[in-house]
Symmetry: C2
Subunit: 270 residues, 2 copies
């Protein structure tokens, strides 16, 4: 782990990430010692910093940290990048001169689990907030509580609705659904994390003329769709086998999507 480029494993207790969740993060797949989709992760991080007026440490500093950490790494792993607004006194108002803090940590590759997931519906909802929607920020209590539900129920994953009853995402995946031969994903204008893999799947589905559009999906519409897919930047794309009593068939869409993603450079899905 590196904190502001130094090999330490702690941060000051005055850090605003700790006190207010005032920051952003990225979770990056490392495949055969190389960070996957790094450009896209850095792009999202920069865009998030603009939205939160958070200091961005620059691509160069982040790339150097990553290179140092993955230097001796040959297998698969996960990199976690955290940017916070750095130290601050008591009080919500950020200092206009805030010096941000960056934390880059290497984690073992988690077990990816089955290719077809048993999914439950979480009772924890996602709040609707246009200011924060889409961002991978550090305010993640909703996901923490939903993930606890998933663990308690023994599901592989949990689907999350927003407060309006719309399907938004799963606790650690974005959601795509197949209906009338088109692959769509819920819009994230009011809730949810705009995942790097989600954007790639949108582009791949569009390139195959299979859709890739954003369509709202109510929970009661889940019985009308043909397939449901989950994706993230660590595990790639997988299908949902079952939600409650409703079973889904992936058809050939999953393999076609994966092939399109491999063609677009996501070779570790092959």
């Amino acid at each position: 782990m590196l904190v502001d480029g130094k090999p330490v494993d702690s941060v000051p207790a005055t850090d605003r990430g700790l006190n207010y969740g005032d920051g952003l993060f990225e979770t990056i797949r490392l495949h055969q010692g190389r960070p996957c989709l790094l450009e896209r992760h850095l792009h999202r991080l920069r865009a998030g910093c603009v939205r939160l007026a958070l200091p961005y440490p620059g691509d160069r500093a982040l790339r150097q940290d990553i290179e140092r950490l993955v230097d001796a790494q040959e297998g698969d792993a996960v990199l976690r990048l955290v940017l916070t607004r750095g130290d601050g006194g008591r009080g919500y108002a950020p200092s206009p001169n805030a010096q941000g803090r960056r934390i880059v940590a290497l984690h073992p590759m988690p077990p990816v689990g089955p290719d077809a997931l048993r999914v439950g519906l979480c009772t924890t909802r996602l709040g609707r907030n246009t200011t924060l929607a889409g961002l991978k920020h550090l305010n993640r209590l909703e996901q923490v509580l939903a993930a606890a539900e998933v663990a308690a129920a023994g599901w592989d994953e949990g689907l999350m609705l927003d407060e309006a009853g719309l399907v938004i995402e799963a606790t650690r995946h974005n959601v795509f659904f197949l209906r009338a031969d088109r692959i769509s994903t819920p819009p994230l204008t009011h809730a949810g994390v705009a995942g790097v893999m989600r954007q790639l799947v949108i582009e791949a589905a569009d390139a195959m003329s299979m859709g890739g559009d954003e369509q709202p999906l109510r929970y009661d519409e889940l019985h009308e769709i043909d397939s449901l897919f989950l994706c993230n930047a660590v595990a790639g794309v997988r299908c949902v086998k079952r939600i409650g009593s409703r079973a889904y068939e992936p058809g050939d869409a999953l393999e076609r999507l994966r092939s399109a993603l491999v063609e677009r450079g996501v070779t570790w899905l092959a």
Copy 2:
């Protein structure tokens, strides 16, 4: 500052408070070296731990930390208590065996500012989430962004609406309003922090037969009310002088409220 009872000023970068905002906090006024309303703060903290299934370190450990920190303190100051779910690996799901972490820090008393505040309307909204509403949790990006608006505009405080357009609170105060000789406060079932001072004001207004009920308040109803008050556990109760072009008169309600609070033991308001 004490972290788990030890005089250190840092936490492991694996702390879930930092990575997910997975925790709660309290802001406690210290008056003449004594923590004010401590029972109520600890009560809220315990209740919040139950709602988040967060480990509670026990009243005794927290009281001991506080006593050590305020030992040599004779004047006014602010204590900040933070409880997090402690260390965790990557991934949202909390460990069922999580050992929490407690951070108790002493801060200088902030300038309390004027007794009648110039308030603006923040464009940052509060998301609506019944699971998290009322809690003083560490997911505070909405307040951070709203507080930045307040600072940029030069207001004393900023009023925050939820995504449904209801007045909920200010960035660091709860809100009370006087209409037809009754003092009411917005319900916090969908958003907002259920403040310790808010609860005291509810009880005081009720005891004076002046109301103390929860009533929704839309932004466009602000011109119909007679007075608007803000309160928190550090500054007590103050009135709003102006929101935009709308001016308010406190009438005698503010003084009556304060007297009732002093009678109920909030002697530092006298």
